[in-house]
Amino acid sequence: MFTKVLVANRGEIAVRINQSLRAMGIAPIAVYSDADAGAPHVASADYSVALPGNTAEETYLNIPVIVKAALDCGADAIHPGYGFLSENPEFARACHEAGMTFIGPTPESMEALGDKVRSKEIAQRAGVPVVPSSPVCRPRDNATREFAEQWGYPLMVKAAAGGGGRGMRLVQDRQDLDRAVESAGREALAAFGDGRVFLERYIANPRHVEVQVMADSFGHTINLGERECSIQRRHQKIIEETPSPAVTPELRRRMGEAAVAIAREAGYVNAGTAEFLLDPQSGEYFFLEMNARLQVEHPITEAVLGLDMVEWQIRIASGEPLTLRQEEIQPRGHAIECRIYAEDPYRDFAPSTGTLLRWRPPSGAGLRLDSGVAEGQEVSIYYDPMLAKLIAWAPNRDLSLRRMEVALSQFQALGVITNIPVLRAVVNHPQFQAGAYDTGFLEWNPAVTAPLIAEDTQTLARTLAAWSATRPVATTSPEAGTDIRAGRRPWQSVGQRTLP
């Protein structure tokens, strides 16, 4: 087993990997940009190395600097997390060449599967249906236009190296095609260091269902069940749940076998996720892409299966066999994840920056919080606006949704605007609660981004705001400058007031 592992990431996923490493008795090494000097992913590591600069290119995407940091610290292995360099075969090769283990698949299968175009060919060889798509394309290219004419509009532009909605564009008609290809390519280059994009036929109103697979280096490959990820804004997931309300036991078995078949065909090792579009009416599914890394939403699988996926990633990478058998994979209860983003739902989900002046997440039975921030932390413009993930588990779907709703209603985040009210509105929505939703949910229910607030709550809010504005600030407070022992009790009643 490894002694020291460098985590080439930041935010909640780096904190989460640090925790598994420490629980396994392995020392985590953090890397950090200038803006992240005091971040929780640094504080939760045993060692840390500064990556000078702030942009992703200078820091978390900077292969030579990260590999050098790992060597300098004596790391045995590197865990890439998700995003950044996690699906970059060059990085995996650079790790191997420097004599360290890359915790993930081989560069070869990563190249084959991480590339959305080649991964579809593998799926087809494995006998799994795929969505029709073009080869890698460029703006104003003839082949690009031909594919578009053949399948008609709307069309999707996707990044070949992509994931998480980055480098993805929906093209409504011909005149937008070139600009979309250009813009997606640019975004993909910035996000993944790889600007290749391709076109894909647009399937209307599908559900997005993915299957987790895990494979060791001895040819043992299993699936860990599905996750429903249809609640998306700008093609980025915000709420996931497992089991999927749309997946029958029979469908679960078939999709699970399909995912394993693709992984086997690609000689895949370690954790990976096969994404499918599911037509909820016909029960048809189409393989979309394989994410050759840990997924953001892996905690819901951990919650229902009772295992630590990061631990298994590390064990498998260190050469241990995967001792879990397919028949042991029996989900218990239901889990849902909400992604807390620093973005303003009332301003078209524009990222919100600033200082987290209050950050008081809920805790308790069935709740898990994977967080990359702490109170007092600054949320900068440089990185992904996801602050944390809240996961609720319960013996059944109904209770897990209710637990999530209660937890969201108690989550105090002030200083940056977050999407918490929208998450709450979705979890409370009858259509979501009935499980009858697809990837168009947010588009069709604009009301969830502008929830109705009862008139008396509004009145109370106005009154309390006016009241809060009268609170003396510390500099004018009578006890400022006096010994803290003389300060007033931290909680005090200010008595009865008539509120309008």
């Binding site: 209050r358 413009i381 309390l464």
Partner: protein
């Protein structure tokens, strides 16, 4: 920072309406007058917790026993109020005269909806644009955001250039005509 006597403008989440408050703070007691609203509600007891210069928390209990935890933070000139799991943003009315984002928009300015870097400017001064047309690309947190024209008109001035860092509320482009 203390606004013991002032007006507040509500900017969020109830778009159209605007409430004004006059707050008088005398020896720790205070009265609140709400313009255009007369009724006086039930009595409530407020318990406050720790306060810093920027943020505080409290618990409000009305006479019916209904209990409402709340918290507040000053973000620039905005008062952010968390109440019963909802976020309300209020802005001091005085700032209006200094020119807030909303105000500028009405006057023909297109402002940055978030901080970030200007990636590309797609229009030139004097150019005619249609409502909904993309006029500028911003990049923030690794994402591109297309800034579109809120209405048709002619570009009077382009206030930024590619590569420039912008703050939220900063003027990007000035439009004229068809106001």
């Amino acid at each position: 920072m203390t606004s013991t006597d002032g007006h507040m403008r509500e900017v969020y989440p109830v778009g159209g309406e605007s409430y004004r408050y006059r707050i008088a703070d005398m020896d720790g007691l205070f009265t609140i007058e709400v313009e255009g609203e007369g009724p006086t509600g039930p009595k409530a007891e407020i318990t406050i917790g720790i306060e810093s210069r920027q943020a505080g928390e409290g618990l409000c209990r009305t006479q019916s026993g209904r209990t409402h935890p709340f918290a507040w933070a000053w973000v620039g000139t905005e008062l952010h109020l968390w109440l019963d799991g909802q976020l309300f943003v209020f802005e001091r009315a005085e700032t209006r005269r200094r020119g807030g984002a909303e105000n500028n928009e009405a006057s023909g300015d297109i402002v940055a909806p978030m901080p970030g870097a200007v990636l590309e400017v797609l229009v030139g001064e004097g150019e005619r644009v249609e409502a909904g047309q993309t006029i500028l690309l911003l990049e923030s947190m690794k994402m591109e955001l297309a800034i579109t024209a809120p209405r048709s008109g002619v570009v009077r001035r382009v206030a930024v250039q590619p590569g420039q860092q912008v703050e939220r509320g900063m003027r990007l482009v000035e439009l004229e005509g068809e106001g």
